[in-house]
Symmetry: C2
Subunit: 460 residues, 2 copies
């Protein structure tokens, strides 16, 4: 970072943080129709902030869902073109009661910004805008060409992004895609994520009697939809945490000794994790470490379950219906549609008696991988070493950013994930927050990254 850029960022820091707070204050929950107006507000706000940073061709582009915000600066001929992806939508704030301060009234405590969307993805996304601003307001130019593509549907699985990318492939063409939307390996351990798990999400609904029945008069004589659901879900895993859906592991590459050796230095302390999460012990698929279970192995997780009476006390009924939301994280060559087909076959085979089962797939994303020795990844490693004072480690993340796979497929360019979040920042949970020291280090890293890319060949 030049002294000029550095002193600009120091001088403007307070304003930049105020802007992030303003951004987090907008309750841009993409999954809920009641927040549609806030989605629009967030998109407009973001477009404004791109314009103020000095970006050109800024536009709020309509899709079949929430809009995409676009902007670019393309005055570095012969240099690579980077497409920065981020998302301005956030997860629902529920359970709202568990927040120490309201989710959409962001506050800074102990150097951390608290609020829904703080780390996922508003503050991380904002490091990119402020990096561009710092270059343009001081040096008047960027080392490379940069395009922004900021969507509002990441938290609902980006249903309209793939068609959008296809339609706008020319405008969005780039040599690489850069995304900052996840956590680094650990505090003080910067990392570059070279792999993501895929996702196959679905809902099971079980319909029983036309309405709730008195459990004294009908109990024992009519199939209970909750019991049917419980049996069905229980049939999907065995006592060792192994998924029992036939064919589920067929396209999973077994971990080699070499894999295990490579990830050895990253292994985490089980006792520390279980204490942080306040669970009596860690638990998962037999024969694997926590790191392996959460990054290199596929999962089947029940995200929610419901049916019958949930209020105070007890209501002795046979419930009319029950349902569950389930998602599988996928690895290696697992394909979400193939996995969904296997699950449907399993459910068909274990179909409970006396009820009607229906399945609806909601999420599909393929797993993703980029080799750590790719030049754009090596450039990122240098940038992290500069920004964080420490060489990064190469990790696989257990999360899924289906659009990462979509970007690499549709735009045919490598995806570089430069995360500035931290584990434990409660992404998707209550009291989500972001360590503001990484706001500064993130910008420093990006400043260096754009310069590092200058020396590399681009297609543009």
């Amino acid at each position: 970072m030049t002294d000029q850029v550095k002193s600009y960022l120091e001088k403007e820091r307070a304003r930049h943080l105020e802007e992030v707070i303003e951004f987090v204050r907008i309750p841009s929950v993409s999954s809920s129709s009641e927040h549609k107006v806030h989605m629009k507000e967030a998109a407009e706000w973001l477009a404004d902030s791109l314009r103020k940073a000095g970006l050109e061709h800024v536009e709020v582009m309509q899709t079949n869902g929430h809009p995409v915000v676009y902007g670019d600066w393309l005055h570095a001929p012969g240099q690579p073109t980077a497409l920065v992806y981020g998302h301005y939508d956030v997860q629902p704030a529920e359970p709202s009661g568990e927040w120490e301060t309201p989710p959409f009234e962001p506050v800074i405590r102990d150097g951390k910004l608290y609020g829904r969307g703080a780390t996922d993805d508003k503050a991380q996304l904002y490091t990119h805008i402020k990096t561009v601003e710092a270059f343009l307001q001081t040096e008047g130019r960027l080392p490379v060409n940069i395009k922004f593509c900021l969507e509002g549907e990441e938290e609902i699985a980006s249903p309209n992004l793939a068609p959008f990318l296809e339609q706008q492939a020319e405008r969005l063409a780039a040599d690489l895609i850069v995304i900052s939307d996840g956590p680094m390996h650990d505090e003080g351990v910067p990392s570059i994520c070279c792999g993501l798990r895929g996702l196959c999400g679905f809902q099971i609904d079980i319909a029983g009697p036309k309405n709730d029945l008195h459990s004294g008069l009908y109990g024992g004589g009519v199939a209970n939809p909750v019991s049917a659901l419980v049996e069905l879900l229980a049939s999907m895993k065995d006592a060792d945490g192994i998924i029992t859906i036939e064919g589920f592991y067929d396209k999973v590459r077994p971990l080699t000794d070499a894999d295990r050796e490579a990830s050895q230095p990253l292994e985490l302390d089980d006792a520390k994790i279980s204490s942080e999460l306040q669970v009596p012990e860690l638990y998962g698929e037999k024969g694997y470490t926590f790191l392996e279970r959460t990054t290199a192995r596929p999962t089947l997780e029940i995200n929610g379950i419901y049916g019958g009476y949930q209020g105070e006390g007890l209501k002795p009924i046979v419930p009319a219906s029950a349902g569950a939301k389930v998602s599988c994280r996928l690895v290696d060559e697992q394909d979400p549609d193939e996995i969904m087909a296997l699950i449907r076959r399993h459910i068909d085979k274990h179909k409970p008696q006396g009820v009607t089962v229906s399945i609806q797939q909601s999420h599909r994303g393929k797993p993703f991988f980029i080799p750590p020795d790719h030049p754009y990844i090596q450039a990122a490693a240098s940038a992290y070493t500069d920004g964080f004072g420490k060489a990064p480690v190469y990790i696989r993340s257990g999360g899924s950013i289906p659009i990462v796979e979509v970007f690499s497929r549709v735009l045919g360019a490598p995806v570089v994930m430069m995360d500035f979040g931290l584990p434990g920042e409660n992404m998707h949970g209550p009291n989500e927050h972001f360590h503001l020291e990484n706001f500064d280090k993130g910008i420093a890293t990006l400043c260096r990254y754009w310069r590092e890319l200058q020396s590399l060949p681009g297609q543009a």
Copy 2:
């Protein structure tokens, strides 16, 4: 029924129905603290109606919970004393959206009164008050001595009734207890219920991580409380619907050929029931009929389940907690506390890893039985034959009225259940209703019953 009583009832019928509507309109939901004011209102309203009927010593008696309404008429020396029990509290109306007309805005459609509490137990209870009124307003006296004991906590398992009965044992002393709080066997088939199932209700809570976790970052590495709950619940039954809790059936008397022969004429049409309930088929414990499953066999029913995200779409989390409400119907010599101990032992044995399980028992009631040849039952049979034009059948009900067992134990008197409801009246479900023709037939039956009892010895 004398002509005088008969014509009084005909003349006053419209007013009587208006009163029932007024009664059902009071949302006396005992389980919810927000309805406390309505509980008081219902108790006062009921006391007033006892006074207007001509009863004496009417009093709203405080308990540690909702009050008991008492009243008596004791001017038939040498005649038996009957204690009429009923309850003025009702089940919650949820799910409110499924009601065709609002639960607490009672309406009469096609000769049926719709509203929460219509059949359970407001209109049934009211037949007793109007019978007393008809006698006292025409003949100036009752054939027997009658006491009313109307409680407000039946739907929450009568936590304060047993101590109340013990404290007031002298005032409540009676030769028999009469209760109208259930359905008859079928439309046009009056019945006397000689057996009830007991109840053991409890809640299971499973605590996992301190808050909801991102299922990408933690999924597979931390025990999922919903999965743990699902496994635990699934472990309690096998594929044949047989409860697998060790010792659960130890005190259940196996059905004999004689039992099966006796209940043969009562057997129901499976196809008709499943079509009414809109289920593809009936389902229950292997080797038993629907009637046996719902009256003579014990059950384990999940009444409600919850955990994680239940909103629109999918939220990929590992939920922080999960819970279920479960109740067992008990028969023969099964004891709710013994059963609870067996369940605790089972849960202990199947304790899931990585989470914390807690159990809270909420309901306990012993099974009940009275022999059909008891003189008070035979008198009731004559009364039904008069009131409904048809001799009643003797049945066992699958429901639980734990206080029936409490009454017979604490007051040492036989309990006679004279039900005027019908199956399919959606007791506890949406669109609860009561066939008003049975309001008239019920009163006629009670008029005859009090006369029948005159010829029988009492202790008073």
